[in-house]
C-alpha cells in the first residue's frame, strides 16, 4: 500500500515539476522569443548579483511582484464564482496530465513501474472531458467579474471552445480507429512500430489531416493566437481576466501556459510517438547503452567547452560596458560551463562503456523520458512561434473556419480512415 502511494506521489511529483518548471521557462521564451523575432533584445534587466541569465530571472521577479500586489476586485462581482474561476482553470490544466505517459517503464528493485500517473482505459476521453471543464473557468470568471469586457471575453471563449471541441474529437477519432484503443499508453506503444520496416508509425504519418485539424483545434482550445478571441487586447481589453489582479491573475496566466504544455504533450503523445525515439526501440537502446552513454558524455563535454569559450569571448568584449556586477556574468557562466564539461569528461573515469544490465535499463528509460520532454518543449515553443508569426483571425472567421471547413474535413477524415481500416482488417 505504502509502495503504491509512494509510486503515485513520485509520478505526480515528476509531472507537477515538469509543468511548473516549464511554465516560467515558457513565459521567458515567449518574451525573449518574441523580442528576437521582432529584432528587439527583450527582458535583460532583472538579475541577482549581476547574474541575469538572459532574462530568465524576470519570471521569478514577476511571481514575487504578483504575490505582493494588492488584489483589486470589482465591487459588484459574484464573490464565490469570482474566486472559484481561476482555481477551476488551474485545476483543469493540471488534472489532464494524469493520463499522459511520459515514459515506458522503470525498473526499481526488480519492480516494473509504468511511467504514467493513471493508466485509464478511456484515457483520451478523460482528456476531452476535463478539457471541456476548462470552459467553465473562463466563462465563470468573465461572468462573475460583472464587467462588459470580461463578459464578452467569456462569451467568445465559450463559443470557440464549443466549436473546436467537436473538431478536436473528430480529428483524433481516426487515430483511435487505427490503434484500436483510447488508452494513451497503447497508442504510444503502437507508434513504436515501423511501416515497411523504415517509416515510424507515428500519428502524423498515418493521420496527416487529423494532425492538422488537431493542432488547429488545440490552439483554439488554449486560446492562443491565431484564435485568441477571448482576450484580444485591441477589442476587449484583456478579455475574461480583465478584472483579475494579483495572485488570481497569476493563476489565469500560469494556467494558460500549463494548458500549452498539456496541449504540446498531447500532440507529442498522439502524433509524434510520445516517448518513442524513432528507429531506436527500447531493446536497441538497452543493448547499446554503454557506447551511447560514452559518446554522449564526450559530445556533451565538447559542446559545453565551446559554450564556455563563447562566454569567455563575450566577457572580454563586454569589459567596460556597465561598470557594475553585470560585467562578471559571462565570465561566471563560462566558468560554470567549464566545470560541467570537466564533470562530463571526468564521468568517463567510471567506465560507462561497461554499464550493467540494470544501468542499461535505467539509461533507456531516461533517454525515452528525455525524448518526451524534448518533444513537449518543441511543441510548446511552436505555440509561441506561431503566436508571433500569424495574425489573429476575426471572430467570424474563427467561427466559419471551425464550422464550415474543419468540421466537414474532420468528418471526411474519419470516413476515409474508417473505410481504410475496414478494408485492411476485413474479417
Amino acid at each position: 500500500m505504502l509502495a503504491i502511494v509512494l509510486e503515485a506521489t513520485a509520478k505526480i511529483g515528476f509531472m507537477f515539476a515538469l509543468i511548473m518548471g516549464l511554465v516560467p521557462v515558457l513565459i521567458w521564451a515567449e518574451r525573449k522569443g518574441s523580442a528576437f523575432i521582432q529584432d528587439r533584445t527583450g527582458p535583460n534587466r532583472a538579475g541577482v548579483l549581476g547574474i541575469r541569465l538572459a532574462g530568465l530571472i524576470h519570471p521569478i521577479a514577476d511571481v514575487i511582484k504578483l504575490l505582493a500586489k494588492e488584489d483589486v476586485v470589482p465591487a459588484m462581482r459574484h464573490k464565490f464564482l469570482y474566486a472559484l474561476a481561476p482555481m477551476l482553470v488551474m485545476i483543469v490544466a493540471m488534472s489532464t496530465y494524469a493520463v499522459i505517459p511520459f515514459g515506458d517503464y522503470i525498473m526499481i528493485g526488480g519492480e516494473k513501474i509504468e511511467l504514467i500517473v493513471a493508466d485509464l482505459e478511456v484515457g483520451m476521453l478523460f482528456v476531452l472531458a476535463i478539457a471541456s471543464l476548462g470552459t467553465y473557468g473562463v466563462a465563470l470568471g468573465g461572468w462573475a467579474s460583472n464587467s462588459k469586457y470580461t463578459f464578452l471575453g467569456s462569451l467568445r471563449a465559450t463559443a470557440s471552445m464549443i466549436s473546436y471541441e467537436i473538431t478536436m474529437g473528430l480529428a483524433i477519432m481516426g487515430l483511435f480507429l487505427i490503434f484500436g484503443t483510447f488508452r494513451l499508453t497503447d497508442i504510444v506503444a503502437g507508434q513504436g512500430d515501423l511501416i515497411w520496416g523504415w517509416l515510424p508509425k507515428w500519428g502524423i504519418i498515418v493521420q496527416p489531416l487529423g494532425f492538422l485539424l488537431f493542432i488547429a483545434s488545440v490552439y483554439a482550445e488554449t486560446n492562443r493566437t491565431p484564435f485568441d478571441m477571448s482576450e484580444r487586447d485591441s477589442e476587449i481589453v484583456a478579455g475574461y481576466h480583465t478584472e483579475y489582479s494579483s495572485l488570481k491573475f497569476a493563476l489565469f496566466f500560469m494556467a494558460e501556459y500549463a494548458h500549452m504544455v498539456v496541449a504540446a504533450a498531447l500532440i507529442a503523445v498522439l502524433f509524434f510517438g510520445g516517448y518513442q525515439i524513432p528507429w531506436l526501440p527500447r531493446p536497441v537502446l538497452e543493448a547499446n547503452a554503454g557506447a551511447m552513454l560514452t559518446g554522449g558524455l564526450i559530445a556533451g563535454g565538447i559542446v559545453l567547452g565551446i559554450i564556455a569559450w563563447a562566454f569567455f569571448r563575450r566577457a572580454r568584449r563586454e569589459k567596460g560596458w556597465y561598470n557594475d556586477a553585470r560585467e562578471r556574468e559571462p565570465g561566471f557562466l563560462g566558468s560554470v560551463c567549464v566545470v560541467l564539461a570537466l564533470v562530463n569528461l571526468g564521468a568517463l573515469g567510471l567506465q560507462p562503456w561497461a554499464i550493467s544490465e540494470l544501468g542499461a535499463s535505467l539509461y533507456a528509460t531516461f533517454a525515452q523520458i528525455g525524448a518526451f520532454v524534448i518533444k513537449v518543449a518543441f511543441f510548446s515553443w511552436l505555440f509561441i512561434w506561431v503566436r508571433w508569426t500569424v495574425p489573429s483571425f476575426r471572430y467570424d472567421q474563427v467561427m466559419r473556419l471551425g464550422w464550415q471547413i474543419m468540421l466537414p474535413a474532420g468528418l471526411v477524415n474519419l470516413l476515409v480512415t474508417a473505410l481504410w481500416v475496414f478494408a485492411v482488417h476485413q474479417p
Partner: protein, 168 residues
C-alpha cells in the same frame, strides 16, 4: 502621377488553393520569423536596441531639450517679458510676470518666468518667437524627472542656471 514608380491602384490577387489552405503560408511565415530569431540569437550585439541608461544616443545640435534663459554680458537675463513665447506657446506652459526695470534703457524685465515642463510639448516655437534670443532649448537635456507635479514648474533662477546634469 505615380509616386516613386509605385502604381496608383493596387490590385489584389485571389489566393490560390494552396495559399488559402493556410498551412504552407504559415510555414513560410514561421521561416521568416525563425530566420530573424536565429540571426538575432547569434548576433545579440548587432541589434538596434539602445541599452538606454548604459548607452545613450547622440542627438544632433538642433535637438530641442530642456529650456534655458540666456544672459547678457553682464550676467543679467536677456528676457524683456514681451510675452511672445507665452503667446505663441501651443501648450500654454509659459507664465511671465513683467516688472519695471530700474535701468530705463531696459525698461521691462520678467519678474517671474515659470515653465511647466509637464505641459511643454518641446515644439521650439518659443525659441523662434523670442526677439531677444533670451530663451533657448539647446541644453540637450531630455531626462526630466521629479517626484511631484509642482517640481516640474521651473522658475527663472532654475532656467538661468540650467547646467547639463541639473535635476529638478
Amino acid at each position: 502621377m505615380s509616386y516613386k514608380g509605385l502604381p496608383d491602384v493596387v490590385t489584389t490577387r485571389r489566393r490560390n488553393l494552396l495559399e488559402s489552405a493556410y498551412f504552407t503560408e504559415i510555414a513560410r511565415g514561421l521561416a521568416v520569423t525563425g530566420r530573424h530569431l536565429i540571426r538575432n540569437l547569434f548576433n545579440t550585439d548587432k541589434m538596434p536596441t539602445v541599452q538606454y541608461p548604459d548607452q545613450k544616443r547622440d542627438y544632433g545640435p538642433r535637438f530641442r531639450g530642456r529650456h534655458r534663459l540666456t544672459q547678457r554680458e553682464d550676467g543679467s537675463p536677456r528676457c524683456v517679458a514681451c510675452m511672445m513665447c507665452s503667446t505663441v506657446c501651443p501648450a500654454d506652459c509659459i507664465e511671465i510676470i513683467a516688472g519695471e526695470h530700474p535701468d530705463p534703457t531696459i525698461e521691462k524685465y520678467s519678474k517671474e518666468f515659470n515653465i511647466d515642463l509637464l505641459r511643454c510639448v518641446y515644439c521650439g516655437l518659443c525659441e523662434e518667437a523670442c526677439p531677444c534670443d533670451a530663451i533657448r532649448m539647446d541644453t540637450g537635456i531630455y531626462e526630466i524627472a521629479a517626484e511631484t507635479r509642482e517640481a516640474f514648474v521651473v522658475n527663472k533662477d532654475f532656467l538661468l542656471n540650467n547646467d547639463k546634469d541639473g535635476t529638478l
